[in-house]
């Protein structure tokens, strides 16, 4: 996030897109509710009528996968009505002209045909966004989990750059991270393209710096991203796998293929707190400590590095992940400092990463969470980025053209399936489903279907139904809902017995490799003779239903 979570309450305009905020980030949603209560305007762009649309001024209910059309059309309105911030563009950005030319080809009237959002609404929202000073954009996986994920992000940042909504409080561009420490994992260099602190692995100088410090020459071969790894597993390029805290057999798209590939691997290690699905393919399973049993830091969505503290001892012989990794490194012959605790490990990372150079456990203890960049021990925490101009030179406009999703609905698979989270569960639900209470609130998998589609299929609320795509078939209960529009269906991905990732495609974004979890073609086959049972009592989606 370029801004901080507590700044949200003071925003005057919120553009929430591809984020089911009240379910995936309830605390951020509370801040948004507070802003709206103060009189801020809220525009929600989402294929589903999510809870946030209850309090929004505009709901842009776009067809799944048409984000670029919608965003370019908003940019079209801004440039044709002269609402762009000329001076700011001049001073802070490059390549505005190319975007201008591109978006001229995306008029709202055409956009209406493709996205399903009324042209007039596109105009209103674009005007309100451009003319409000404290206007922030908030997005999550609904924007990035597409084959066009990177394009979607560029299209959003074009809006930010042309209006200059950056570098001030309560405005900016704010991806909300889905998991507690996604930000921290990226910061720490758990990515093929970056060393810690976003230092590029393809730059010889950087590689040399780490080689010198670690005392081992660094490979010049580019690493594989997750999506590429999954494919490389299938074609024999990968032969060994080390999994720490992830259950790829549940979480990766087109999981049927992943399972087959896992079987082919020569050696698999799984390190986790539970015996997860991936353990079935493991040669060694290492029992790890959970967050309540270890020390360290997590970095949240607004770049805030905060402490994780040990409250209890791990069960049995389980050990903290860092202790396990150190043991393996030692056995593999890597000479290392004798770290006495995680504080020293953090200090090593900080000494190698200018962005966190001034952060230490000691400072966090004293001052509370610190938001990076903090380059020196006396530098303050950074509440919002790009203050007084775009970081590192000029902000680059990137013209993007609409590309259809990898798979579109057709007569055989007439529905568009999206997947996502619910409030009550988390990822593969290995943790939340072990809570009796949460399992009671939301016990089983379901698929949301519009009333119109349900009627056409003769499907009753709560009846069992097969969801079928080109890659697989899963069975769950139908939830007839006003949240989805005709032609769309939606499933939470938390339930192992109805694994949505048997259905999703593994077509990835060209740049990030992120899978297209948000769009694939599917059809529904009602299961005959099934006793209907309401799946989700008290759900907002059912409110107002007769």
């Amino acid at each position: 996030m370029t801004n901080s979570i507590p700044e949200i309450r003071d925003a005057d305009f919120l553009f929430v897109t591809g984020s089911n905020t009240s379910e995936a980030h309830p605390i951020i949603a509370m801040e948004m509710k507070r802003a709206v209560g103060r009189g801020a305007k809220l525009a929600v762009a989402d294929p589903r009528a999510i809870w946030m649309t209850e309090i929004s001024d505009w709901h842009m209910q776009l067809n799944p996968g048409t984000d670029v059309w919608l965003l370019n059309a908003m940019a079209h309105v801004i440039v044709t009505e002269g609402l762009e911030s000329r001076e700011w563009i001049e001073a802070n950005t490059e390549h505005f002209e190319s975007v201008r030319e591109t978006v001229l080809r995306y008029p709202p009237e055409e956009a209406e045909k493709i996205t399903g959002v009324p042209a007039e609404m596109i105009r209103e929202v674009a005007r309100a966004y451009a003319t409000t000073e404290k206007a922030g954009i908030y997005y999550t996986l609904g924007i990035t989990e597409h084959t066009t994920g990177t394009d979607n992000v560029y299209a959003l940042s074009n809006l930010v750059l042309m209006t200059g909504h950056l570098g001030i409080r309560s405005a900016g561009m704010n991806p909300l991270r889905g998991q507690n420490n996604v930000q921290g994992a990226n910061d720490s260099g758990a990515t093929p393209v970056y060393y810690p602190g976003y230092q590029r692995a393809d730059e010889a100088e950087i590689r040399q710096k780490f080689a010198d410090h670690w005392g081992v020459p660094q490979s010049e071969t580019t690493g594989l991203n997750l999506n590429e790894m999954m494919k490389a597993m299938g074609d024999g390029r990968l032969r060994g796998l080390f999994l720490m805290g992830e259950d790829i057999v549940i979480s990766e798209p087109n999981v049927g293929r992943v399972e087959k590939a896992m079987n082919e691997l020569e050696f698999v290690v799984v390190q986790d707190i539970f015996f997860n699905e991936s353990c079935r393919y493991a040669d060694v399973v290492l029992p790890a400590a959970c967050f309540a049993e270890k020390e360290g830091v997590f970095t949240n969505s607004d770049r805030r590095v905060q402490r994780v503290r040990k409250a209890v001892e791990p069960p049995g012989e389980a050990r903290a992940d860092w202790q396990i990794i150190l043991e393996i490194m030692k056995r593999a012959g890597l000479k290392q400092p004798n770290y006495a605790n995680v504080r020293e490990i953090y200090a090593e990372m900080a000494s190698l990463s200018p962005k966190f150079g001034g952060i230490s456990h000691h400072r966090i203890e004293k001052e509370g969470g610190l938001q990076w960049p903090v380059e020196t021990p006396d530098a303050p925490s950074t509440e919002y980025l790009h203050k007084g101009g775009v970081l590192r030179g000029k902000g680059l406009f990137q013209a993007v053209e609409f590309r259809p999703p990898f798979e579109v609905a057709d007569p055989e698979y007439p529905l568009v399936l999206s997947t996502g989270r619910t409030l009550y569960h988390y990822n593969a639900a290995t943790q939340t489903r072990r809570s009796e209470g949460l399992s009671k609130k939301q016990p089983e998998a379901f698929v949301e279907v519009s009333r119109k589609d349900a009627r056409k299929l003769g499907l009753q609320d709560g009846q069992m139904v097969d969801v079928v795509s080109r890659r697989g078939r899963v069975r769950c209960r139908a939830m007839v809902s006003r949240q989805v529009r005709r032609g769309s269906i939606w499933m939470p991905f938390h339930f192992p017995e109805a694994r949505t990732n048997y259905l999703t495609t593994d077509a990835g974004d060209a740049v990030t490799g992120t899978g297209e979890y948000k769009v694939c073609a599917a059809r529904l086959e009602p299961v005959q003779d099934s006793e209907p049972k309401q799946v989700f009592p008290g759900a907002f989606a059912l409110a107002g239903e007769a």
């Binding site: 660094q218 490979s219 080390f242 050696f267 056995r331 990822n427």
Partner: protein, 376 residues
């Protein structure tokens, strides 16, 4: 922005950048204030303590409990500091005999309306009423009034219990549910002495719009709204140790307090730090507050496992498991080259652990094949 601003992540001070120029006199101190500020807010900046019961910085003042009444020059009646706005030149007194007498009186009224025995009253959450009683020396000065409030003891929701005999109808819980969580699952019902906290048609919380955020428990000053988990464990919160940490679910990074029974090595429940102190401003969601059964779940892995000749996974020693791991990985690298290995890290692990895993991939095994499941 300075450090202090960051730390006050949740403070309710208006951020409109308006210069503080007007002033008010509280207990003889000349204090500056921003327009719209209440007496309570202005006083807090000068460390003048005014006791409150029904006040919460996140909520619109209700003026319900009358604990915070102070004298304002020129006003016929005492004014609630939590609700009354400051005006230029206003003169306020918070420590007069009249104010003190009112505090004692109000407190004994509320105390008469709740469970009398302190130990029983604080069997789970601490009670603000008894804390104030300590301060104002009113303990034992009241006579019990039989409370006719109707409870909801049949509510089978797994997390939250409402105990009507302790409720003082301050409406903090319902206002929190309305204004912060914005789902209005609970509501004040009935009138006068019968006023109680109810749901539509007396439904179980799980069958209402309730999102099980637990905010109503955190704001309740009397322990009337309480966590079932803490009750079932049977040790009062006072005897548990609070360990401040970061929630391990979504990317908001809420600060949470794990309430630990050290003797039993057990996380009993989760509470939220006070509003105005951390990024979550005293709020939590259902996962952060209630989804902690997994920590002590019987299915946790407790021993390393290795696959034997027969294809079965069996318990083994750490020595063996670590040796097998290292040899296995090195073997693959020898046979097919370092780039035939891949390391998948987790956003569920700490920053230090992610740092170490990428170091292991790059320095110990010579490959950049390191990534994590950032997408889900």
């Amino acid at each position: 922005m300075s450090k202090t601003d960051t730390d006050k992540a949740g403070s309710r001070e208006p951020h409109n950048g308006e210069p503080i120029s007007k002033f008010v006199i509280i207990d003889g101190n000349e204090l500056h204030f921003r327009s719209g500020e209440t007496i309570l807010q202005a006083a807090a900046r000068a460390d003048i303590d005014i006791p409150t019961i029904c006040h919460d910085p996140r909520l619109t003042p209700a003026g319900a409990c009358r604990m915070c009444l102070v004298e304002v020059e020129g006003a016929r009646l005492m004014q609630p500091a939590c609700a009354a706005k400051t005006t230029p030149g206003m003169v306020v007194r918070t420590q007069t005999g009249k104010v003190e007498r009112n505090r004692k009186f109000i407190l004994s009224l509320h105390l008469a309306d709740t469970v009398q025995d302190r130990e029983t009253a604080e069997d789970n959450n601490p009670s603000k009423l008894f804390e104030l009683a300590d301060r104002y020396g009113t303990a034992g000065e009241w006579t019990q009034v039989e409370s006719p409030r109707q409870g909801r003891s049949q509510d089978e929701n797994p997390f939250i219990e409402f105990r009507a005999d302790r409720c003082i109808a301050c409406s903090l819980c319902t206002r929190y549910c309305d204004e912060v969580e914005a789902v209005s699952a609970i509501t004040l019902a009935h009138r006068g002495a019968h006023t109680t906290i109810s749901t539509v048609d007396q439904l179980d919380l799980t069958d209402t719009t309730c999102e099980l955020c637990g905010g109503c428990v955190d704001v309740c000053p009397t322990g009337a709204m309480t966590e079932k988990a803490g009750l079932a464990w049977g040790k009062p919160e006072r005897e548990l140790e609070k360990v401040r940490t970061t929630c391990n679910f979504c990317g908001v990074g809420c600060q949470i307090d794990l309430n630990v029974d050290q003797e039993a090595n057990r996380v009993v429940k989760v509470t939220s730090p006070p509003p105005g102190t951390t990024v979550n401003d005293g709020n939590l969601c259902v996962k952060g507050r209630f989804a902690n059964d997994f920590i002590h779940h019987e299915e946790r892995l407790t021993q390393p496992l290795v696959r034997g000749e027969d294809g079965e996974l069996r318990p083994t020693s750490w020595e063996d498991a670590l040796d097998r791991t290292t040899k296995g990985l090195l073997g693959v690298a020898e046979r097919h080259g370092p780039d035939s290995l891949a390391f998948i890290s987790s956003s569920r692990c700490t920053g230090e652990e992610n740092y170490l895993l990428q170091k292991m991939a790059r320095a110990a095994f010579g490959t950049h094949n390191i990534h994590q499941c950032a997408a889900t």
